[in-house]
Amino acid sequence: MADEKLTQIYIMGKAYDVPVGVTIMDAMEYAGYRFIRGAGCRSGFCGACGTVYRREGEYRLEFVLACQEMVEEGMHLTQLPFTPAPRSDYTLSELDPSENVLLQHYPEVARCVSCNTCTKACPQEIEVMDYVQAALRGDLERVAELSFDCISCGLCAMRCPADIKHYHVAQMARRLHSVSDSPIPEHLKTRMGELESGAFRVELDELVSMDLDGLKAKYAKRVIEKEEVAT
């Protein structure tokens, strides 16, 4: 351990020496924090680990995912593991895409003052303000297009002075747009067909009847890359 390079960061105001070259999430675990919330896929896709930090001597806040961002000397950080943003109840098949359903379900979108704070808070570099504006106009397709990379981390909604729930609006738009306007991808059709005809019945039944130890063992031995399967 003596020759391991360490750097000082501040987690929720407390100083810790953590290894150089690791992610914020790894650094927090190194420091002794155990994630029971605010961690998920650890691959930048689930949006659970929204993190706010600033650099030593600077006043601007930065917004990142803990599992993706590397630590820096003098980082002052905290996590926002959950955003209490209410989601509107809807049944997708009952929505009329020709109406501005986004505004009907999320009328607070009309409070947007175009301050762009949401865009600045997005760890995925999405043009958040632009898609909120598109939602206000009723441009479903544009909301779906612009919000494609959204992982619902909630940082935008936490910073918004108008209390808009950007990512819920965007999710509704993507869902409605995909069932009403965009063609179903061929590979999805194929897979759905396979599922419906019972192609994976045996494996699914096996998993359902497995005990906890069996499941853990199977998970630990899982193979991710397609190339590694086959033989």
Binding site: N100, C112, V113, S114, C115, N116, T119, K120, M129, D130, Q133, L136, R137, G138, D139, P161
Partner: protein, 292 residues
């Protein structure tokens, strides 16, 4: 005159699309097509009236930056509320360097706003650049016999600094309609508030206002009350509904239309592109000599 940088505002893309469609047609016919401002954002109506409020100036200023990026020093608005909000902000922020600097510093991801974008309403362009004579010249369908109540509402004519005409006796919309053969009637409620945003959570306030305006137009003998704002249009339409149920004489027959719809009809828009309301009004017109 060349193309005009046009700012639509949210409602013109959705609820008030026909207001915009007609305007596009009219300006195409007049040789000054409208070119939509790229990446425009909501103007954030209504203009904020507190002295320290810079946050609510950001939305209009962002659009001025867009205009700069498009190489344009003027924005033309169609929606009266957007016109008012953008125009008031442009006057304030163009004149105040300190506020402009603060806003630019806040909007650090955008190029700086230099402070020289002007805002006009389409009616001003028609009056000052196109001219009524040209409008008359280009009319192919007669609106003769059509009595119209030109309704200005608040945001086109108040406050004085941005009013496109004298608020106590505005004439610009009436002149535009007269140029294409219609007969404007005088009615005292032409610049009284329609009830504006009160329609949302205190609708009785708006319906009372709009009701008064409608009755005044009906008494003056108008076939149609003509608007320049999607909210005035909406409130007056709602009031027609409410008053018709109350059995008020003459209310059922008055149409509520946008000024661009009548201009488009006069300038030869396809019958198929006209709303039933406008087609009804055309039926009330006297055909031109030789028929149309």
């Amino acid at each position: 005159m060349g193309t005009l940088t046009y700012f639509p505002g949210c409602s013109l893309k959705d609820n008030a699309k026909r207001f915009e469609d007609a305007a596009f047609f009219v300006m195409e016919q007049l040789g000054s097509p409208l070119l939509e401002l790229e990446k425009w954002t909501c103007c954030g109506t209504v203009y904020s009236l507190t002295s320290d409020d810079l946050m609510h100036q950001i939305a209009p200023v962002r659009n001025f930056v867009r205009a700069q990026q498009a190489g344009s020093d003027e924005i033309v608005a169609l929606c009266a509320m957007c016109y008012n909000t953008l125009a008031r902000t442009s006057q304030r922020i163009n004149a105040d360097e300190e506020e402009r600097t603060k806003i630019n510093a806040f909007m650090n991801k955008e190029p700086d706003y230099e402070g020289s974008v002007r805002v006009r309403h389409l009616l001003q362009v028609l009056r000052d650049n196109v001219g009524w004579a040209t409008l008359t010249d280009k009319a192919v369908r007669s609106l003769e016999g059509l009595k119209v109540a030109a309704y200005y509402g608040c945001t086109l004519v108040r406050p004085d600094e941005v009013g496109i005409d004298d608020m106590e006796h505005p004439v610009v919309m009436a002149d535009a309609l007269e140029a294409v053969g219609a007969e404007p009637v005088t009615f005292p409620f032409e610049a009284e508030c329609c009830g504006t945003y009160q329609i949302v959570d205190e609708p009785h306030l708006a319906l009372e206002q709009s009701g008064r305006i409608l009755r005044s137009a009906v008494r003056a003998g108008a076939h149609a009350i003509v608007t320049a704002c999607p909210l005035c249009q909406h409130n007056l339409e709602q009031a027609v509904g409410a008053l018709s149920e109350g059995g008020v004489e003459g209310i059922k027959n008055i149409q509520v239309v946008y000024f661009t719809e009548l201009l488009a009809a006069a300038l030869g828009a396809d019958e198929g592109n006209l709303t039933p309301a406008v087609r009804d009004l055309l039926a009330a017109c006297v055909p031109a000599e030789g028929g149309v």
